[in-house]
Amino acid sequence: MTPRIAVVGGGMAGARFAERYGALGGPGTVTVYGAEPRAPYNRVLLADVLTGRYDAESIALPLGGAEARPGCEVVDLDPAARTLGLADGTVEPWDELVLATGSNPVLPPVRGLRRPDGFGLAEGVHTLRTLEDCGRLADEAVTAKRAVVIGGGVLGVSAALAFAALGVRTEIVHQGPYLIERQLDCEAAEVLRERLLALGVETYPRNRVRAVHGGEKISAVELANGYRLDCDLVVLACGARPRTSLAYGAGLPVGTGIRVDDRLAVSGNVSAIGDCAEHRGTVHGLAGPAWEQADVLARRLSGADPDARYTGSLQRARLSTGDLEYAAFGTVNETLDPGLDVLRIADATRGTYKKLVLRGDRLVGAILLGDLATVDALAGAFESDGPLGGHPLHLLTRGESR
């Protein structure tokens, strides 16, 4: 009998798995159950959809012959009976289950964030996770005068850049010590902050939002230091948390995320990939690792490589929005480890910052901000994990990057 493969979640990981499984000639039929009302699309492009660079219809992802079931939220899972239950009460059988449930935006403990009745966010407060979010934000951006982005991670910065591009005055309130502290060091973040300022985006690091004010419609956010920022639009970009409730309810092992082994298996015929999965203690939460996991699982389940294993992903972050670009690899905060050497080139006038973190003659981390000419050589050196050969300066300067 043809194996039935159910994919729960129509996000990046689920779509990629379906496409690869088909491309590799997997013998089963694949069904992708998505809670969102539309077929899988490329979530990475949402900030650019917000600016109108992409239209919402054009960012659909290929599914390789799988059946998409949009608007079908899976609410129940029975691994023993190998069934899943949909919100409308129907029960669907499966032979292999792939959990790709993704993550939910984290809602910070801020007064006035929710509607008075407790259901949903207050008017004018949004997350940026789905195309629906995007549509609402784009509508409001037309009349909005001032926006506040709560959270200065990569999503927050991308959203702020999108609003700036739309001509909305935007401010970022960030609880951390500096912008994007998971991927950058504080010098890079300072250069980034200067560049954001040049684009009209003010940043307030080391600040916490205490409350959102307004009745029918928000009017301001109040910082913990008492300062008030008037605004008519708030975007929450405070990180994401793996969606694990379905797995947890079914008795599957759940830590921060759904725990998987190197085969990406959870237990029995259940696997998990993407933002919802925890592998060797790590939840990646990025599209790159999610696709690497999807590729491995597709190779295993399609039979193309029954022994396929996922052994982790290299840390690699990339922002490329218009002329504000950075790439960050591996360990970028050398202060944590005295055995590391650092090579740094900063050019305040050009707004560029470049840094190598080395252990002996091996590259363990790097940042390029504002000037990405050597990104290929750097990525190659980082991925090959061998001795660099030659002076490492060639990884930072264009003339010798060839």
């Binding site: 990629r16 496409e19 491309a23 699309y41 490329n42 990475v44 492009l45 650019d48 660079r53 992409y54 054009s58 960012i59 659909a60 992802l61 290929p62 599209a287 790159g288 696709w291 690699r316 990339r318 490329s320 670009e325 990405l372 000419a373 990104v375 290929d376 050589a377 990525a379 190659g380 090959s384 061998g386 001795p387 660099l388 050969g389 030659g390 060639h394 060839r402």
Partner: protein, 704 residues
């Protein structure tokens, strides 16, 4: 028009024996009977220009470097000795007949070449099907053209290298040249690219190496070997994002855009940068240059094609053209720079395992019927599709494989992928028969070597990269003991009981080819020797004498059933073999200016061998430093299939994760000892351009 340099002695207008440009040249008797090459400035493709290979071609007419009589081997492992033609042909006919009798018709095989004239290719295919009745005929064009051909047919319903003449190139706005190095492989074509830039157009070159061609580009994208497919998808992605899709063209003249768009959405710039190494900002720049140009062309060559995903890769580049409306109108479109002299014609007239003359499918009953009528045979007697080139070679000498092989115009002992293994298979044959003009490395393995005429000694047509059918003319008499392949085929056919149907006169053979091709995709019915000479070549399809020929294809409709071009829904996939801890580097292979293909001809020309005396391994200074290798020192390159040793050539023109070797040489420095015969699932093209290797200092001197 008389050329000012024309010699007072009688001259013959003909074409170069080498690449697919088929430059026009004039041959004269020269001084003291030494043939000389003169300019033929009135021929449009090269307007008199020739490269060193073409200029020095007469050196191969010398008796000193070529075969002058048949050779025979009396016992396996014994020496080759001189023999007469009757003895040699009897031996071949006897071997063919015996294998057929004992093991059936498919135990004999034919392996042809993309350098053979149309007439030879046509009659070789006919000989296989009518005389030998074997399904097993294929040719080295499978190593050269087949991925572009498959993608062409999938997208446009028709496969012709360029859908436009070369003279259109200077008039386009932006040209992307992918994985081709014409500055070294076909220098006289470079004028078109220079003129393009002089006219204000933009040239973008995609190549893992900063080649002489890339040096001329406005923008050079330097992806990892095997990154071409993702790169094309990334460009399409940006074109869509930036609103540069020609919606009117897409809706009126194409099908399948949505699936192609979805595939492109899975290849956003950051991801493509990660796969290919091409920075996202360069991707954006290239997409903008191409997408905003008034017209654009994409040309591919062996780089993207010789991969285990070559068909999909070419399809992705065609998608880029279709999405931007750069197809089916003047000064725009996708084209392939074919490689061998008759790479185009060689694939049209029945040398391919799955095709009959006129680019007909051997599985199509109507095609079989038409061709059978021209041949005067029962359609049912024509065999079905046989094995493709590498599969055929891989099967040689095996119990159920081919036991006797007739090989013409090819040197797979040097040019096939995994050449060490292929050489072993050639040795395992009961009988190997090689027809060539020189004693090539493959001929050295043969039991019977048949010396055949070459370009300046025979008439015949070829079809150049533009789809222009041109005429080579006999200028000199061959040496006494040398015969044409057409004569050889007739003699063998007669010995095997087929007395008619194998003309020795090339024009007579061509006239039969015209009838066989009539009504097919590659329709030559209206092309005659007289017209070719009068019109500087005729572009196919040309279905009737009164038809002018087709310089530009697809202006009104594509050759698909609904007349629309088809997008290909393709996604990136890794190469057949990617670097790992054991084999951490990419090897890519290619050609150098002064040599041609397996080098069987050019290595015998003193002037060319002085310029390019032997193999080398190109590597980046940083890699060299890591390996402790100085320029000129011997390095050993090892893959899962073999080992090659050659001097290091250190240059920053190559990526630090990649080494390059030219493939013209046999022996210790044979690049194809290393290459991977991973085949494209559609075209069966092997992956010459990407495999994983390890590079080390070679400990001792190795004599090739």
């Amino acid at each position: 028009m008389t050329s000012p340099t024309a010699a007072p002695t009688p001259t013959t207008d003909t074409h170069c024996p080498y690449c697919s440009l088929q430059c026009g040249m004039r041959l004269g008797d020269g001084v003291g009977g030494v043939p000389e090459v003169l300019e033929r400035p009135d021929f449009p493709v090269n307007r008199g220009a020739l490269c060193g290979k073409g200029r020095s071609a007469p050196a191969l007419l010398s008796r000193d470097v070529r075969l002058t009589g048949p050779l025979l081997r009396d016992r396996p492992g014994g020496p080759l000795r001189a023999a007469g033609w009757a003895e040699a042909l009897d031996r071949v006919a006897d071997g063919l007949a015996r294998a057929r009798e004992r093991h059936g018709p498919d135990s004999v095989g034919v392996f042809g070449g993309g350098g053979l004239t149309n007439e030879k290719a046509y009659l070789l295919g006919k000989f296989a099907r009518v005389v030998l009745r074997t399904a097993n005929i294929d040719y080295n064009g499978r190593f050269c053209m087949s991925s572009a051909a498959a993608a062409h047919r999938r997208a446009f319903g028709l496969d012709r290298g360029l859908p436009f003449p070369l003279e259109d190139i200077p008039h386009t706005g932006c040209l992307i040249l992918v994985g081709g190095n014409p500055a070294e492989t076909m220098p006289p074509a470079m004028r078109y690219f220079r003129e393009l830039r002089e006219n204000g157009g933009t040239l973008i070159v995609v190549d893992p190496r900063r080649t002489r061609t890339a040096e001329l580009a406005d923008l050079h994208l330097q992806p990892r070997p095997g990154g071409d497919l993702a790169l094309a998808l990334g460009l399409l992605h940006v074109v869509i994002a930036d609103g540069l899709v020609d919606k009117e063209f897409v809706s009126e003249r194409t099908t399948g855009f949505e699936a192609a768009r979805e595939a492109a959405m899975a290849h956003w710039p950051d991801r493509v940068e990660r796969i290919t190494g091409v920075p996202a900002h360069q991707l954006r720049e290239a997409a903008s240059l191409f997408g905003t140009a008034e017209s654009g062309m994409v040309l591919t060559a062996r780089g993207p094609e010789q991969q285990s995903k070559g068909t999909d890769t070419v399809g992705a580049w065609i998608n880029l053209c279709l999405a931007t409306g750069n197809s089916g109108r003047p000064y725009a479109g996708y084209g392939c720079l074919t490689g061998q002299g008759n790479g185009q014609g060689g694939r049209e007239h029945g040398q391919k395992a799955d095709q009959l003359p006129g680019y007909r499918s051997i599985e199509d009953p109507a095609a079989r019927e038409h061709v059978a009528a021209v041949w005067g045979v029962d359609p049912a007697s024509i065999p079905g599709a046989g094995k493709s080139a590498y599969d055929l070679l891989d099967d040689l000498g095996r119990p159920d494989g081919v036991r006797v092989l007739l090989l013409a115009g090819s040197n797979p002992a040097v040019s096939a992928p995994n050449a060490g293994h292929v050489t072993e298979r050639l040795r395992a044959l009961d009988l190997l028969v090689v027809a060539d003009l020189v004693l090539s490395e493959t001929a050295r393995l043969a039991d019977v070597v048949l010396p055949v005429t070459q370009w300046a000694e025979e008439d015949g047509t070829t079809t150049n990269l533009e789809g222009r059918v041109i005429l080579r003319r006999r200028a000199f008499d061959p040496p006494e003991g040398v015969r044409s392949e057409l004569w050889v085929l007739r003699e063998l056919a007669a010995r095997l009981g087929v007395a008619t149907g194998f003309p020795v006169d090339a024009e007579e053979a061509f006239d039969e080819l015209r009838r066989a091709s009539a009504g097919g995709d590659a329709d030559y019915a209206g092309i005659s020797y007289r017209r070719i000479a009068a019109e500087d070549g005729v572009f196919w399809p040309c279905p009737a004498e009164a038809h002018p020929g087709t310089r530009r294809l697809f202006l009104d409709r594509y050759a698909t059933p609904d007349g629309r071009a088809r997008f290909a829904a393709v996604t990136h996939r890794p190469a057949g073999e990617e670097p790992d801890a054991e084999y951490p580097l990419y090897l890519t292979t290619g050609r150098v200016l002064a040599q041609y293909q397996s080098g069987a001809q050019t290595r015998r020309v003193a002037e060319l061998t002085r310029a390019a005396p032997g193999p080398f391994v190109e590597l980046h200074p940083r890699l060299a430093e890591r390996l402790g290798v100085a320029d000129g020192e011997l390095v050993a390159v090892t893959s899962r299939r073999g080992r090659a040793v050659a001097p290091a050539r250190i240059t920053d023109a190559i990526r630090a994760d990649t080494v390059f070797m030219p493939f013209h040489w046999p022996g210790a420095g044979r690049a194809n000892s290393l290459t991977n015969p991973a085949l494209d699932p559609v075209s069966r093209m092997p992956e010459f351009k990407v495999c994983a290797v390890r590079v080390e200092r070679a400990e001792q001197k190795v004599t090739p």
